[in-house]
């Protein structure tokens, strides 16, 4: 078996529920030893997809391959394959038993003997820092502790693939950090392939190598983080990855991949291969917009004058909304906002480079 062969692959995977397509045309390749994040808003089908990958549910269409073998149909094969994976569900449920027995369940079901279970669990309990809790009834634990039991229960089986569904949803920041550290530990120690669903972009970036963007049941984009964050494929995804400035316009001219886009009464320059006449969205991250009090000569191709309509300061950052014919949001440090004495009603010049504009074709 070559190392390039994906550990999990799906072809045209789909799931219908109550006459509605919950998932459509999912073609995924999960590479061995990598951490893959499934990012998408709530209700986009992340959980449904994880359940299909873990072979808990059967798909309405398409196939799931594990190590190159089609495991979509056969019952026995599904159980055997499932035993090489582990899935931590979004809502951590523990069995009505003590912590030790909870973690031991998966191993007992695989027919492992008591001594081997004890040896393995000593390690696992230490790793999740639950050694002192092992005799406690798991139902009496806090949410964060229960999630650690659930993760311990999963990694005790030493799975080849670990599926995590929103592993830190509903947890406080301290527990969240702890769970993320634990996941990082698992990645380093076991080189397990991980597929995790999350709606938290920053968490995905902290933990995952690759990302798949799921939107209303379809994978709209897969790849690295830089691409996902800076080159979203459609307007919804642009919004989801946190691009605040999405301006509609039409390409006026195109020359050597430099395009001019006409919006209501302004012109934006950008780098794109779109042809003249194409309707597009111009996407600019708010941190790419710089502000000045006078028109400076900068290398930025786009400079607009406008009036500040709103300033919100959170921590060290000020979010400034400007009306320059269209609405533009800029993120500046609180200090520079103070130095420039930015306030509502003040005239400013907002600039961004042509390379900071990501152009998406409009449907």
């Amino acid at each position: 078996m070559s190392n390039n062969e994906p550990i999990i692959q799906t072809t045209d995977l789909g799931q219908r529920r109550n006459g509605r397509d919950v998932l459509r045309n999912i073609n995924l390749r999960i590479e061995r030893g990598k951490v893959f994040a499934l990012i998408g808003p709530t209700g986009s089908g992340k959980t449904t997809l994880l359940r299909l990958l873990d072979l808990i549910d059967s798909p309405s269409q398409g196939k799931v391959y594990f190590n190159g073998t089609d495991v979509t149909e056969s019952g026995k094969q599904r159980l055997e394959t499932r035993r090489r994976m582990a899935f931590v569900l979004q809502k951590p449920v523990v069995f009505n038993a003590n912590v030790y027995d909870n973690i031991a369940y998966g191993l007992k079901w695989r027919g492992m003997n008591r001594d081997d279970i004890r040896n393995r669990l000593d390690d696992v309990l230490k790793m999740v820092d639950l050694t002192d809790f092992h005799k406690r009834n798991a139902r009496m634990l806090s949410g964060g502790e229960m999630q650690r039991v659930a993760i311990a229960r999963a990694i005790a089986t030493e799975p080849e693939v670990l599926l995590l569904d929103e592993p830190t949803a509903n947890l406080d920041p301290v527990s969240t950090t702890r769970i993320e550290e634990l996941i990082t530990d698992i990645i380093q120690r076991y080189q397990t392939t991980i597929v995790m669903a999350t709606h938290d972009m920053s968490q995905g970036q902290r933990l995952a190598d690759r990302v798949g963007m799921l939107l209303t049941g379809e994978i709209v984009q897969t790849g690295g983080w830089h691409e996902a964050l800076n080159s979203p494929r459609n307007r919804e995804m642009a919004r989801f990855v946190g691009i605040e400035n999405i301006i509609d316009g039409v390409v006026l001219s195109s020359e050597d991949n430099v395009v001019t886009i006409s919006t209501d009464d302004s012109i934006i320059e950008a780098i794109s291969d779109c042809a003249a006449g194409e309707p597009v969205h111009a996407c600019i991250r708010s941190e790419e917009v710089t502000l000045a009090l006078s028109r400076l000569s900068t290398s930025a191709r786009n400079t607009f004058s406008g009036e500040i309509t709103r300033i919100i300061t959170t921590g060290p950052v000020a979010r400034v909304e400007i009306d320059c014919g269209f609405r533009l949001v800029a993120l500046v440090t609180k200090r520079s906002a103070e130095e420039m004495a930015l306030e509502k009603g003040r005239q400013v010049f907002a600039s961004f480079k042509a390379t900071a504009v990501h152009v998406i074709k409009r449907d």
Binding site: R51, D54, I56, L79, R82, R83, M85, A86, F87, L89, K91, V93, F95, N96, Y105, G106, W109, R110, A150, R153, A154, T157, L163
Partner: protein
């Protein structure tokens, strides 16, 4: 009122002095109800589990029928069992009529739907995420079912207690197929019914108190188990 008070003190006397007749009746009642309850449990829990863990056509209807049978009158079961066990009936040759065995058969039929229905409810009450978790951890069908039964164990204990309570407190079946024969098939409830009609209030009260006492002990044991 004084008559009732006298009856009450006499009843206490009968219990404290461990009156042989009273003790014999109480012991027989307990033995018959416990036997019925054990047999019904051995049938109801596996059968209830099979119904709950499988999908089939008419499942909802079946569960509805089971639940309707919760309220079947004891005299109807008494009549049914009588017809089967009487000498002219299909099982007449067994010679069970007017024996404790006949009462056990009737009580099993009485409590079976209750235990089965409550078993199904108990299993249904187990969080579905728990089943998913078991499956994802590599449990096969039997291991999953066993886990769910284990998780529902306290609720199912409730089903058994309900069944026991119904068995020990019924009078219709014991009277019709047991015959209230002194020293053979006389139980707490049939004795209360008979002694009251004869005017022996104190004996009836004593027996009634014992019946309540047994129910109390069973409930205390159950509560203890559920709090574990």
């Amino acid at each position: 009122m004084t008559e009732l008070w006298e009856g009450f003190t006499k009843a206490i006397e009968l219990i404290v002095s461990l009156d042989p007749e009273v003790m014999q009746i109480a012991g027989r009642s307990l033995a018959i109800a416990a036997t019925s309850c054990i047999i019904a449990t051995l049938i109801a829990i596996p059968l209830g589990s099979v119904i709950q863990f499988n999908s089939f056509r008419g499942k909802r209807l079946l569960v509805n029928i089971i639940q309707t049978l919760y309220s079947v009158p004891t005299v109807v079961i008494g009549l049914f069992v009588f017809a089967f066990l009487s000498r002219a009936g299909p099982l007449g040759s067994l010679g069970f009529l007017f024996t404790p065995a006949a009462i056990v058969i009737g009580q099993v039929l009485l409590v079976l739907p209750i235990m089965m229905g409550l078993t199904i409810s108990a299993l249904r009450g187990v969080d579905v995420t728990l089943t998913d978790t078991a499956i994802s951890l590599g449990a096969n069908r039997f291991q999953t079912a066993f886990l769910v039964i284990r998780e529902a164990r306290f609720a199912m204990l409730g089903a058994v207690t309900m069944g026991f309570g119904r068995a020990i407190s019924e009078v219709g079946i014991s009277l019709m197929v047991g015959g209230n024969i002194s020293g053979v098939t006389r139980t707490l409830t049939t004795a209360i019914s008979l002694e009251t009609s004869k005017g022996y209030i104190e004996l009836s009260l004593a027996l009634g108190m014992i019946l309540l006492f047994i129910a109390l002990v069973v409930n205390i044991i159950l509560n203890r188990l559920q709090q574990r």
